[in-house]
Amino acid sequence: MKSFRLSLKIALVHLLSKKKQTIIAMLGVTFGISMFIVMISFMTGVNDYLMDLALDGSPHIHVYNPVKTKRTPLSASVYDTSKTQIFVHHQKPKADQNRIRSGFQILQEIQKLPYVTNAAPQLSSQVFFNNGSLQFGGVMMGVDIERENTMYKLYEKIESGSVEKMRSNKDGILLGENLALKLNVGVGDRVSLTAPNGSVFLLKVVGTFAFGMTSVDETRCYVGLNTAQKILGKPSDYITDINIRIRDYNQSTAIAEEIQALFGYTAEDWKKTNASILAGEIIRNTLTYVVSAAMLIVAGFGIYNIMNMSVVNKMRDIAILKATGFEAGNIVSIFLLQSLIIGLSGAFLGMFIGALLSYGIDQLPFPAREMIKLETFPVNYEPIHYILGIVFGFITTLFAGYFPSRKASKIDPVAIIRG
């Protein structure tokens, strides 16, 4: 402890004797760490925002029955296929292909699973919205509006009107904000909709919603499940999808596999649905770490240079210290302490500046309202990033300072004292 205090004292005197270099080396680290903080705060902010969007806009697990155009022909069950070649050209899908049979029963079974918090039936279909002589394609989702409300917090996304009115209006419809704009309708207006089988229905707009993703807000509409069945001319137990929320969304992949195995229908988890968002996350994280590492390495070289110069300048001092009884370890600690002081003070200043810059970015208005809805740039303030910053600064300077310090400790005092 005593020898540490002595080394620290000598290190501080050395640092103060070259204030300019000390500050320049420190600013190198400051720059690297502050950029790291800014980048990682912003990038993880974007990641989290997109993740929220993905999780809000899609179920954790989506159970459906994909349309299989190719299937074993009926004749294969009659003839022995090992002896007879069967050719069927241009097979057509059967009607009701994507129906989930005994859907409500499966729904109940799923709801009993321990890790499932909620599950909702859905009947979705492509539809056309008629606006005068023009038609717009869209997706109609026939849902149990109460469950949908609890699962997706629809009420939070309502822009005009309300979810509650769906209850009192059997022919009520909720339109995506952009879709309503395209159709030029508002709450209380009627909208005409054409089902795939050609039948036309008039529905009453009770509200508009915005998820924040143009792809959804431009095409989606919600109607009651019964209404959807009526529009499509299907019986009241006809559903095409089951949407599931689970306790821990990180476990979605395993649970989806289990559900698929249990019920025989395709179960896709949100990670698969939003693969592009997650891929973007990996790219953003890689970018953050690569750029930050590059800047820290540059800062490290700065420290290395200045420490090397300092060792050369202080050769006489080192010789005297060794001649009067300082051991190699003491010399190493004197110079290592210098670079650690430079590195840590630089890192702390960098964290402070990084936090300020992050806050500044947080206040900037986000320009691209077309793609996603966002008021300011998303920024995260995670303590772990700041701890990482300090750790990175510490490790960089430890490395940068180690080699010059070792060089200093190897100086032969006689060679210098002889003159």
């Binding site: 004797s17 006489r316 001649a323 004292i417």
Partner: protein
Amino acid sequence: MFAVNAQKITKYFHEPSTFAVLSNIEFSVEKGEFVSLIGKSGCGKSTLLYILSTMDTDYEGTLELNNQSVTGLSQDALSRFRNEHLGFVFQFHFLLPEFSALENVMLPALKLGKFSNEEIEHQAIEKLKQVGMDEYARKSAGKLSGGQQQRVAIARALINNPAIIMGDEPTGNLDKANTYIVLDILKRLSEENKQTIITVTHDPDFAAKSHRIIEMEDGKMVKR
């Protein structure tokens, strides 16, 4: 009991070509003796002193200091030995220029860590007083004159009360008055404290006041 016992010390320099600076040096110094090392410039006095001070380990032969063999010890062990048992005044007064005179004197004692900071400071001021430098204690060493620096270096050599004090022309930059002050201090240290003193000097008067004169010529001892 010998304070210094050197056996068959030989040292070569390899530049510009290999030659023996010191050949077969054999001598011993008793505890409490005050010895002067004299000889022409370039005869190898400084070279011998660096070996005796354990800083130069590149030699043949064996060396005992304070009844302990130091030949072949590790660098760190030698550092600790120097810190505790040796005081050295260099031919060209070497101080740490960014530290005050007082701090320069205190450093070897702080390294030894035997006493508290306050005690060490007190002792350091005492040593500076002995060489008449106490009024410059707080002045930065880089701003002292050559003679003043040399006196501070002497105070530093004394701080840990070493068994052996070596000086390479420790009074080379001092006027007559100060030379006699230093001479007096060294004599008292050897006679009263039984500390052993070995100094290289060109000053015949200085040498005459010591207990014994060793003369060197071309890397050999001619008078012991």
